[in-house]
């Protein structure tokens, strides 16, 4: 029993070390302090010490060092600049061959939300790394279905990073393919 507890403790220590050295939850982007103890006060998250988070690979892709995910910088450049139904968006990502990779997929809602910079709006992400969307009031699809309303999938407004649910069979949204991540 003690042996199992020891193993578990070691696994936790290893994981905490991985998170602190290789990343974990990303910073929100807020730097303004409105109240001591708020997000701007602590600025918790990765990268630690205000280092560079995103790496532009120069081939139309961007690496997020907080999550390890690779993103398409500009979906329009990858031929996915138009709004699509949810199923078509999934298929478009699955069939995408871009920047020498063929394992693109539609991001889940946690992955999509990890790109949101809460210090920005219209759009709520860093446009140095992620292209300005054609319209900030049309959401980006995630691959995650809305549990309380399975006719809808979770999606995100580029304007402010607001998470909402749009109808799978009848709504059309943008998509930003992603690759990598843990399974």
């Amino acid at each position: 029993m003690d042996h199992i507890k020891h193993q578990k403790k070691n696994r936790i220590i290893t994981r905490v070390n991985e998170i602190t050295t290789e990343g974990g939850l990303p910073k929100t982007g807020q730097t303004m302090i409105y109240q001591m103890g708020d997000d701007g006060y602590y600025q918790m998250g990765y990268p630690i010490g205000g280092g560079q988070r995103f790496i532009d690979n120069g081939d139309g892709t961007v690496i997020d060092t907080a999550t390890g995910l690779m993103w398409v910088k500009d979906p329009q450049a990858a031929g996915l600049g138009m709004t699509m139904y949810w199923y078509d968006a999934i298929n478009a990502c699955e069939n995408l061959i871009y920047a020498g990779h063929d394992d693109w997929r539609m991001p889940n809602i946690n992955e999509l939300m990890s790109l949101v910079d809460h210090s920005r709006y219209d759009p709520a992400w860093d446009t140095m790394f992620f292209a300005y969307p054609p319209d900030t009031w049309t959401p980006f699809w995630s691959s995650t279905v809305c549990a309380p309303w399975p006719d809808g999938a979770w999606c995100l407004y580029p304007y402010d990073g607001y998470k909402t649910s749009w109808g799978i069979p009848w709504d059309m949204c943008y998509v930003r393919p992603v690759r990598g991540g843990q399974s």
């Binding site: 199923y87 309303w149 399975p150």
Partner: protein, 59 residues
């Protein structure tokens, strides 16, 4: 375009996904989803009213 078909029978909404998989929605599950949207709308209306009030006071 991937096609989703919808039919209403046996007191349920039956959605057939492009994969052929069927998903059933009962009146209760749809009412609960409606309630979720109504609550969201209520909060949005409340926030819009507060902003309207500010705009009115600014003149």
């Amino acid at each position: 375009m991937a096609k989703v078909t919808v039919e209403y029978k046996d007191g349920k909404k039956i959605v057939t996904l492009p994969s052929g998989e069927k998903r059933e929605h009962t009146k209760e599950s749809l009412t609960s989803a409606k309630d979720m949207f109504l609550r969201r709308r209520d909060k949005l209306n409340e926030q819009i009213a507060l902003i309207d009030d500010d705009i009115k006071k600014i003149g």
